[in-house]
């Protein structure tokens, strides 16, 4: 029987790892990821989980241990946050290139400076070019479900790629919430045991990750490129099957909210979607025809889905909870990817960027209202007014304009 539980995104992933019967996990403390290692250590000590747990000597070691375990045929997991994610950077491409489908849990966190504990998507987004499959969970339930879905997709013999179950630090990793832990029989039906075709086996020796001739590299890279396309095909199939077995209702790529008659939408990923939906209810009452598109995956990026969905709208406000200094358009990663996805679509909407929710700040209702106001101005103007806006820094909504005018009146510029 599925069990109703109260927990966090991290206990939910520990549940998923327990249900998936992982063989090896490697840890190194860093908040907010840390809570999962305490949870898994407790479950191993209590006999609830049977798995090797290695206390690594740093993230680089952690990911390497999981890599090694995977090469030996184990279902292996690890994870981190913030600078811990970037400390392990060297290992990401070799793990994906070696087609080792390990799973990492990343409870995101700002990079240094300022050594902040708050959520920000930048840490995990820096990995986007390394060939891992990943997307952000909005809540504990989705964290658990994404973990199972990721194992299933990543371990598919036609795929064999590592995955990241990403979630907003604290908002998802630590806020206590209700979720359902599925039944073992359901999981066994959905997720076959991990039986890789090529693994280190003393009886059938293989060589893994050797130094190869330079000309042998590009074909391997081509293969990694092709397999990501295959992931795009598998996601809808696996999601549909997941929905059927677990009675869930996930959209394969983009979760839409109040988009039927919308002329403008917020586009975002992760936990801020919760506040966004609530803000939309108020905005609707105030006459804004606004909706939301939440991305379930960042890699592979859901470009085909967006090409279908976005032309329905006139203005798209992409909210980036990350920084990508110097990026095209002046915003973050999602803005660049979203614009690129629909650049060749004839009736594409106007796409503007917002940077918000940095440093673990909640994106408040007021901030969503401001963004809606700015999007409305774009809509009325019929063209971009400002390519990207850092909310609370260079806003051009009505209130911000009035405040600016009042300041100038009080202290006229000396120029």
């Amino acid at each position: 029987m599925p069990i109703k539980k109260r927990g966090t995104g991290l206990t939910a992933v520990a549940d998923a790892w327990q249900l998936a019967d992982i063989d090896v996990t490697a840890s190194y403390p860093i908040r907010p990821y840390t809570a999962v290692m305490a949870e898994v250590a407790k479950r191993i000590a209590n006999g609830q989980m049977k798995c090797e747990m290695v206390h690594g000597e740093g993230e680089h070691a952690q990911f390497s241990i999981a890599h090694g375990a995977s090469m030996a045929g184990a279902r292996a997991t690890t994870g981190s946050s913030g600078v811990g994610v970037t400390y392990a950077f060297e290992t990401y491409s070799p793990i994906a290139g070696g087609r080792c489908p390990i799973q990492a849990l990343i409870g995101d966190r700002t990079l240094d400076p300022p050594g902040d504990f708050g959520s920000e998507h930048t840490d995990c987004l820096t990995l986007r070019d390394n060939g891992w499959i990943y997307g952000w969970a909005e809540n504990a339930q989705e964290a658990l479900d994404n973990s199972l879905l990721c194992f299933r997709i990543g371990e598919d013999p036609e795929i064999m790629l590592p995955q990241i179950v990403a979630m907003d630090g604290y908002f998802v990793t630590h806020i206590s919430q209700d979720y359902v832990m599925p039944d073992q029989a359901q999981v066994d039906k959905f997720l076959p045991p991990f039986k890789p075709e090529f693994r280190l086996d003393v009886n059938k020796p293989v060589i893994m990750g050797p130094q190869i001739e330079p000309e042998m590299g590009p074909p391997l890279e081509w293969d990694r490129n092709v397999v990501m396309e295959r992931v795009k095909e598998l996601i809808p199939k696996a999601t549909a099957e997941f929905n059927k077995i677990f009675g869930a209702k996930y959209a394969p790529f983009v979760d839409e909210y109040m988009t039927d008659d919308a002329d403008m939408v917020f586009l975002l990923q992760g936990a801020h979607a919760v506040t966004c939906r609530s803000a939309i209810k108020y905005l609707r009452e105030a006459g804004y025809k606004v909706g939301m598109c939440r991305l379930r995956w960042i890699r592979p990026f859901p470009d085909a889905a967006l090409q279908q969905i976005l032309p329905k709208f006139k203005v798209v406000g992409v909210i980036d909870t990350n920084t990508s200094y110097g990026a095209a358009g002046g915003g973050g990663v999602l803005l660049v990817e979203t614009r690129a996805s629909v650049s060749e679509v004839a009736n594409k909407p106007i796409i503007q960027g917002f940077t918000s929710g940095l440093g673990g700040e909640t994106i408040t209702h007021e901030e969503f209202f401001k963004m809606a106001d700015m999007m409305k101005q774009t809509l009325d103007a019929g063209k971009i007014i400002q390519s990207s806006t850092w909310v609370n820094f260079n806003d051009y909504d009505k209130a911000a304009i009035e405040v600016k005018a009042a300041w100038e009146q009080a202290a006229p510029s000396t120029k």
Binding site: S27, Y28, P29, I30, R31, T34, M37, A38, A41, K42, A45, H55, E57, G58, E59, V83, Y87, D112, G115
Partner: protein
């Protein structure tokens, strides 16, 4: 020595090298970090070198000392304080470079740096606070966690069959550092002795003799979940039994 402040509060004398504006410090009550830094501050005072000191703190509770001293200070990445101070010292040999870190920073994620700086006999001083756990992250099992000790990630006590024995840092450094290095292990349970070790370590750097390293047995009552008596017993008995206090390497006096 104690002095009467304007508001008639009796306050123990604090080292001149401390940045008084940032006191009281930010460590938990009963934490050993403050005691180690007091010993360090007094050693700096006695040598009169505050104008030369560059103090680097690691990520860990040691970072709470980023504004602790009245001198140039730098906070580095977790485990990276030893190489950062090495770079500064190589760029300007007039400074006295001090790298301050925890056992997680020094023996786990930064162990290769500690090891290699010792092998190269870098003219810097590393001071390491051993509190048997990763304190700042909430008390997980560290390389120094004692056998049988309960932590957040060893709920029934550290099992040495599964996770090995605690790292003996000074012994490791003493084994690889060339002639000229100074290596010791002190404890907050004997501050006078600890200060003496730290002072010798700094003198070793001042003399250009070689690498210097002092591990300090310390307390973390917050994560150990111990009261004052239990805390002190753990430092004085349990820790000292496994981690032997004393000097491991003293440079031979130069001839002539």
């Amino acid at each position: 020595m104690q002095e009467l402040k304007e508001n008639n509060v009796l306050q123990p004398a604090i080292p001149r090298s401390w940045n008084e504006e940032t006191k009281p410090h930010k460590f938990c009550p009963g934490c050993g970090h403050g005691i180690i830094l007091k010993a360090l501050g007094e050693a700096i005072d006695e040598l009169g070198i505050i104008d030369q000191v560059v103090f680097g703190c690691d990520i860990g509770c040691s970072l709470l000392s980023w504004d602790f001293f009245a001198c140039d200070s730098v906070q580095t990445h977790h485990g990276r304080t030893t190489p950062t101070i090495t770079g500064m010292k190589r760029a300007n040999s007039d400074i006295v470079g001090i790298a301050y870190m925890g056992d997680g920073g020094g023996y786990a994620i930064g162990s290769q740096h500690l090891f290699n700086a010792a092998v190269r006999n870098e003219r810097i001083t590393v001071i390491l606070c051993n509190n048997c756990n990763y304190g700042m992250t909430g008390g997980q099992m560290a390389p120094t966690t004692l056998p049988g000790m309960k932590t957040e990630t060893s709920p029934y006590g550290r099992d040495v069959n599964e996770t090995g024995y605690p790292t003996k840092g000074p012994e490791m450094v003493a084994a690889v550092a060339p002639e000229g290095a100074y290596v010791a292990r002190g404890s907050i349970a004997n501050v006078r002795q600890l200060k003496g070790f730290i002072k010798k370590a700094l003198e070793n750097q001042l003399a250009g003799s070689g690498f210097s390293f002092v591990e300090c047995l310390s307390s973390c009552p917050t994560n150990w979940r111990t009261n004052a008596k239990q805390t002190w017993e753990f430092v004085e008995k349990d820790m000292a039994e496994y981690f032997k206090v004393g000097e491991l390497r003293i440079p031979q006096a130069k001839e002539g």
